[in-house]
Symmetry: C2
Subunit: 877 residues, 2 copies
């Protein structure tokens, strides 16, 4: 039978796929001789089997688990359920990719009535033993039995009230005994059975619960946001317990080797004495900074500093570690590459290169491309900020500036977002259930919790501004009010501003300004540009887009849509005249009015791009998009145009289409009305001639014919283009070149790409339409099924956001190969929205495209993603 | 330089692609030592070059033509333009596939003022010489200069009137001289130049005109109707003239080795003495039957009979021949496999096998599959026919019975057809310009012309009923009246009935009856069934469809659509209840009402198919198709259903889709509402159980999941199906099997077919939707561009009628290969409308499908097409 369980010394850091990140790193630290409580890892394959076997743990796998438990008992000299030498374990999930806060953890497993009292005697610490037991009851109930942890809190409050104390640590051993009775009673009343006393049964149930939790809605949402396949599964780590809650020489903490918010090279973290790990992460008590440990326990501190430093060098990256001190002895419970803000990621990457710890190629891999987004968005305008006085300050948990209307639940924030309102989510503390609302909020503010609280970790991962642990405020979800220390009350919908880099909170809105693109950012992106071979262009229809995109490093325009220009109020009249023309002459007369305006647009765009290549697409949308559809609007327009209502109404009706997406648009318009292509060609080419002559910019216009499904369409339109372009260039006396190419956006164009390339000098994959037609999904309509498709595991991601490599991607691969066979030097690009998506950029690099084109704000992200794809390809990561 | 011209002895019958059908057969007859006037053929490649070179004849090709003219002059001892020994030639088109009447012919080329008088002297027959010259002027003007032939007729009438005669052959040599003067004058007035006197210039212009005529609208229409690619081009045959108009020992005729209407083994044809070929074909004078030649010129007749018989044996098929007798000497001008009616084709094929002339495999190739259609349609009910008295009788030119409203122009008939009226086209005589109107008419009747007239030939090709040469009627296109000999007047829109098999014409409508499917038809189709390996199923949603299709030889149902059953008035209420349900319970309650009705449908269909396989597709259309969309209808329905207008209106609006073709339909419905799939599965499986138990028919239901684009969709729906089906079968105690498969109708399903086949036990290619999505053509909207696409040579055929092998076909090939790789025994079929199209059936055979499924009336056609594909594949044709 396959091996489904590994003792820590059997594994190593490279076995991440099998053992999960946590398991692999525990094995690696074990190998490095670091103080790691021993245990074993149940592999991700066991999780996959669990789902294949209809959500049951196959008996043979159960036997293996018990076999390795036996080994662990031999190593530790303790036995699960043995009152003489009781073994207690933690059971923790550990997926291949880090999923902080998303999966469930159970500590102190092995506790029951008998063991609890045995531990009390053995440790001579009854309070500790009973505290551990009551925690276990809570965690087991919550994670395994789905009886919420919070449902136990009332009993703690009840005992505290009775005793007249405020803090958990003021409760003594007897109070804990009372709590255990109350908890077990609550368990039995709620679930109809006694709390399980058999530790092996506890263990198997806990393992099952971890497997099950891989499929909970929070985990699914997180995976979808982070492109983690469901099929990976999670490993389960069973580790002998060490206790941070054994008294005042015990404690627990988390720390980063560098500051995860700024990247500063300084040990950064926090700890709580006499506590278990969950207390720190949950943010229930406010912990001490890690530096304070130097005073409390100098030797332990020094040992931790040494280990931290060794781990950072060993992994070549900033580490995020968990540790526990049990009766003065340090144990390492976890290490991993630390999550960090975009700014920190940049600084760490640049510093590590400067320190000689890693190469530029490795450095480029240390910033998640999508994090860059945070650096590209506005910060507060310093002047506006200077004039503003913060009403309070919290922890700067995730950088950036946010300004929005206050909402007090994730659901309310999500609803507001749907109506177009920018929301700031204000919570007592966030929990994994809040994730959807957090994802759409401009910023997040919490009353409790530290830098490693749920809110802070998740916000940093999302690149969303977060101010956490704001002391002195009262958040009432019920009344929908936020009350500051000075008595100021903010209601739902009131606007506040958050500075995630300083922790400052302001009433009202504060003006923002553009991001800074020099310094570390500039150096780092320079390296990315050196490394990458894939070019990055932008989709842009205006000189403003062009200017913005050049700032962000765009190397040209990959898609300039001409229809947006048609919609401008000053022009739409001529466009409509063209549409309702009865004769060729009328249509040409109307087009002649549009010509000088289009020429002007193109001149401005050429100038803004300073001679970089510009691909201009001929008119794409169906003509009815330019006409009104309601009778009163038609009437108004008819009057304005001096035609009869009936005529105009008739025209609108004659242009109606059942499936406009598959209708008379793209090059089909040019086949029906070649004079449109002729006018646009004239605008494109004569603008280039003017800019050449006036500015000395040697433009090579790239004219793109949309929606080709048959090479003869392109052949026809190309003839029209060439006739006009050649005539104008001849007249100009310039040696100007131009290119004619096509979008590959119908499946047929992809399938017949070898033929299409006979006429096309370049292909630009229009993956929006290609995705629509390949799936048969109307993008305008797919919304109503997508959520159900995610829920039922039919799709893992939205194919309009992330390129479907298996289907659409296969068509692209085929078209690339066939296109190159016909025309080896054919220029290949992509201009769908996938051009700015990370995995899609990597795909484009691997498939051999020359460039991706994306919206201006995605340009730096695509540049970095392209560099990362190249590093991966070369195996230099 | 490439060889673009072949003397007849240089070619042979196998060189059809290069020399065209006419050229290849002239070469073959030359090789057989038959009396063929010598000449040369300019190849189809020269025609293709003509179009590639921008519609000019490349100078080198012109030189080659003159070189071979030189050779012809040497062989004949005559010279073009030499008054001593004048060579006169015919210039005729000849494409690879026969295109009767579609291409243009010029006779007597080489004539000019000088040559005319020289020929008059040499032949001592001035009338003949001048008649030939005036004919040449007419034909050259018409074909080369586009000055209509008919514009010359007025002068003939003028001369006849002056002389007081009625027939052309009553005009003498002087009259002809007068005509020549009038014709040349008309030519000069109309075209502004003299009639060309240089014979070489005449020749080159004539060749150019033939090439040009390949692209005329009639030719394009004919090609599109007959699936002949534009790229084939036409050859040009230049042949020394022999003259049927030299006097009373000269003549010209056409004949078939067997009767082309009935297949009877008897020489069949007609001839005209002292005439040129055009006179016979155009039907201007009514010719004599071929048998009369035995009396007129017994030796010539016997020689012709011998040649006919040799040719039929040589080619192994019925021949259609043209001949000319010049001063008592027989010349063969053409032979080809003869066009024939469906009935004749069947009889000829069966007889040739019985005579031992050909094999069954060869016989199967002798009936055009699409001709079968004519045999499948109703004939007149004999009883009704007995009661009816024909008002007159014409030539039985193309068999079948037709009944419709009379129209007098092809345009009017076409317009009537568009509004749904069944039209009968009544004409003095038809001309190639009429082809579009003929194609849509139920039947055709002409006042003039014989069995080989344009109307007769074209109607037989189309399988349309035709009565030709109806003497004694007057047809006035102007007054829109048809006047019979007895004075009865029929106006536009009045109904008449035609019997194309007897030539009878009836006033009013006559009841019709089903076609006879036994006799020759039965034997012949039996051979087709023996030969073919591709199965033929039908698309059918009702027991009536199923019964009809079984009669036509369907081997199962390939597509049973369930939505049509939903639309029945008695059921739609429950369907609508289901749609507007707010809860799962409400929806299930509504579905429970539909269940027994669906079960009943399936039982009836299973019984009608008698145990043959039945593939049932789950609900496919978007739900809004079941709801009304106009406010007043919504109001009415709301009242009827007892819900508020607002609720129903809201539901209708919530279901609205921008592109319904790409919307919430097919399996997407089952993913959203698994209870629909569950109900349908129950209906399908429990119906099969009932029929098994009650009728002993062992059904294996094939459940088809539509619109899959991702295997997970199928996996999900299959689970729902299996759960329900297994439960029902278990309860029934039967050992019933069932299959679950899918449509391949999105490009993504085709591209990922290897994955889809993991779940699908069969694939059925839904080529309607696959074509829509592959091209990005909405079938409902494509009409407005298709004509333009044909005109501009962007498409050669409608991809919804004829499978696009280059694009859609490539996806199918890929899917077949990938599907078989995953599941070698996967069952493969097609159920789009292409299942009944000839070239598409051949494609399906070649690509390795197991079956095609088509509408009941296409089943015999598909059976024959499948047999023909097999014969071609085996090389046995």
């Amino acid at each position: 039978m396959k091996k489904y369980v590994y003792m820590f010394p059997e594994g190593n850091g490279k076995m991440r796929e099998l053992l999960g990140g946590k398991g692999a790193n525990l094995a690696e630290m074990t190998g490095l001789g670091m103080p790691v409580p021993q245990g074993f890892t149940i592999t991700t394959e066991a999780c996959t089997r669990y789902y294949e076997d209809g959500k049951t743990i196959y008996p043979d796998i159960q036997d293996q688990i018990l076999l390795y438990l036996d080994q662990l008992e031999k190593i530790t000299g303790k036995t699960l359920g043995d009152p003489e030498k009781p073994l207690l374990v933690s059971v923790r999930s550990g997926a291949r990719a880090s999923m902080p806060g998303m999966m469930d953890t159970i500590l102190n497993l092995g506790m029951n009535d008998e063991i609890c009292e045995a531990v009390a005697k053995l440790t001579n610490n009854p309070r500790f033993a009973r505290d551990s037991y009551r925690r276990f009851i809570q965690m087991f109930s919550d994670v395994v039995m789905e009886l919420p942890k919070s449902s136990f809190e009332q009993f703690i409050d009840q005992v505290k009230d009775k005793k007249g104390v405020k803090m958990d640590n003021e409760l003594d051993a007897d109070d804990m005994s009372e709590l255990i009775v109350l908890f077990k009673d609550h368990y039995k009343k709620s679930l109809g059975e006694d709390f399980p006393q058999d530790p092996k049964k506890q263990l198997m149930e806990a393992v099952r619960a971890v497997f099950r939790s891989w499929d909970n809605p929070r985990a699914n949402t997180y995976r979808r946001m982070n492109d983690i396949p469901h099929s990976w599964g999670t490993a389960v780590n069973v580790q002998s317990m060490v206790f941070g809650n054994m008294g005042e020489t015990s404690g627990t903490g988390v720390a980063f080797t560098r500051n995860p918010a700024t990247g500063e090279k300084k040990l950064y973290g926090e700890f709580l004495m006499n506590a278990q790990g969950e207390d720190v992460v949950a943010g229930i008590r406010t912990p001490q900074p890690i530096s304070a440990l130097a005073d409390t326990m100098p030797e332990v501190y020094q040992q931790f500093v040494d280990i931290s430093s060794r781990l950072e060098k060993h992994y070549g990256d900033m580490q995020d570690m968990e540790f526990t001190i049990e009766n003065g002895k340090l144990y390492m419970l976890q290490t991993r590459n630390g999550k960090r803000t975009a700014q920190a990621a940049l600084k760490v990457a640049v510093d590590l290169v400067d320190e000689g710890v890693c190469t530029k190629e490795q450095a480029v891999m240390k910033v998640e491309a999508k994090q860059l987004d945070a650096l590209l968005h506005p910060t507060f305008d310093p002047a506006a900020l200077k004039a503003a006085t913060p009403i309070t300050t919290g922890l700067p948990a995730s950088p950036g500036a946010a300004c929005g209307a206050v909402y007090f639940t994730a659901d309310d924030a999500a609803k507001a977002h749907k109506t177009g309102i920018k929301a700031v989510l204000v919570r007592q503390e966030t929990s994994p259930e809040d994730i959807d609302g957090m994802a759409v909020s401009e910023g997040i503010m919490t009353a409790r919790g530290g830098m490693t609280s749920h809110a802070a970790v998740v916000a940093r991962g999302m690149g969303t501004c977060c101010v956490a642990g704001v002391n002195g405020i009262k958040v009432s979800e019920e009344d929908k009010t936020l009350t500051f220390a000075d008595g100021t009350v903010v209601h739902e919908g009131d606007v506040i501003s958050l500075d995630g880099s300083t922790g400052n909170v302001y009433l009202g809105a504060i003006a923002t300004q553009e991001a800074e693109l020099t310094g570390d950012f500039g150096r780092f992106m320079g390296w990315a540009d050196e490394i990458r071979t894939l070019h990055v262009r932008t989709n842009g229809d205006t000189p403003r887009d062009a200017t913005q995109a050049r700032k962000f490093g765009a190397e040209g325009i990959g898609l300039c849509r001409t229809e947006h220009m048609f919609f401008e109020p000053a022009r739409i009249k001529a466009v409509r005249e063209m549409i309702i023309s009865d004769t060729l002459e009328q249509r040409k007369a109307a087009l002649a009015k549009i010509l000088p305006m289009q020429r002007g647009d193109f001149e401005a765009i050429y100038r803004a791009m300073g001679g970089l290549p510009v691909t201009i697409r001929l008119l794409d949308p169906p003509l009815h998009e330019f006409l009104p559809h309601e009778d009163d609007e038609i009437k108004e327009l008819a009057d304005e145009m001096g035609v009869s209502f009936d005529k105009l109404k008739g025209k609108v009706e004659s242009l109606h289409e059942f499936n406009p997406m598959l209708g008379t648009r793209g090059c089909r318009l040019d086949v029906l009305y070649p004079e449109i292509a002729e006018m646009q060609t004239e605008a494109i080419v004569s603008a280039a001639i003017n800019v050449w002559k006036e500015d000395g910019l040697h433009i090579t216009p790239e004219i793109m014919v949309p929606l080709v499904s048959e090479v003869n369409e392109l052949r026809f339109v190309k003839k029209v283009i060439k006739a006009k372009a050649d005539e104008l260039i001849e007249q100009s006396g310039l040696k100007m070149k131009y290119m004619v190419g096509t979008m590959i956006e119908t499946p047929r164009a992809a399938v017949t790409a070898g033929d299409v390339a006979k006429e096309a000098e370049f292909f630009s994959f229009g993956t929006n339409d290609l995705t629509q037609m390949t799936y048969g999904f109307s993008r305008d309509d797919v919304g109503r099924i997508l959520e159900t498709y995610f829920d039922k595991k039919i799709l893992e991601s939205d194919p309009f956001a992330r390129l479907d490599q298996n289907g659409v991607g296969r068509l692209i691969r085929f078209a690339v190969a066939e296109g190159k066979r016909t025309r080896p030097d054919i220029k290949l690009g992509i201009c769908g929205e996938h051009g700015g998506d990370l995995s899609s950029v990597e795909f484009c690099h691997n498939v051999g495209l020359n460039y991706v084109s994306c919206s201006p704000f995605r340009v730096p992200i695509a540049r970095l993603a392209a560099a990362q794809a190249r590093v991966k390809e070369l195996g230099l990561a």
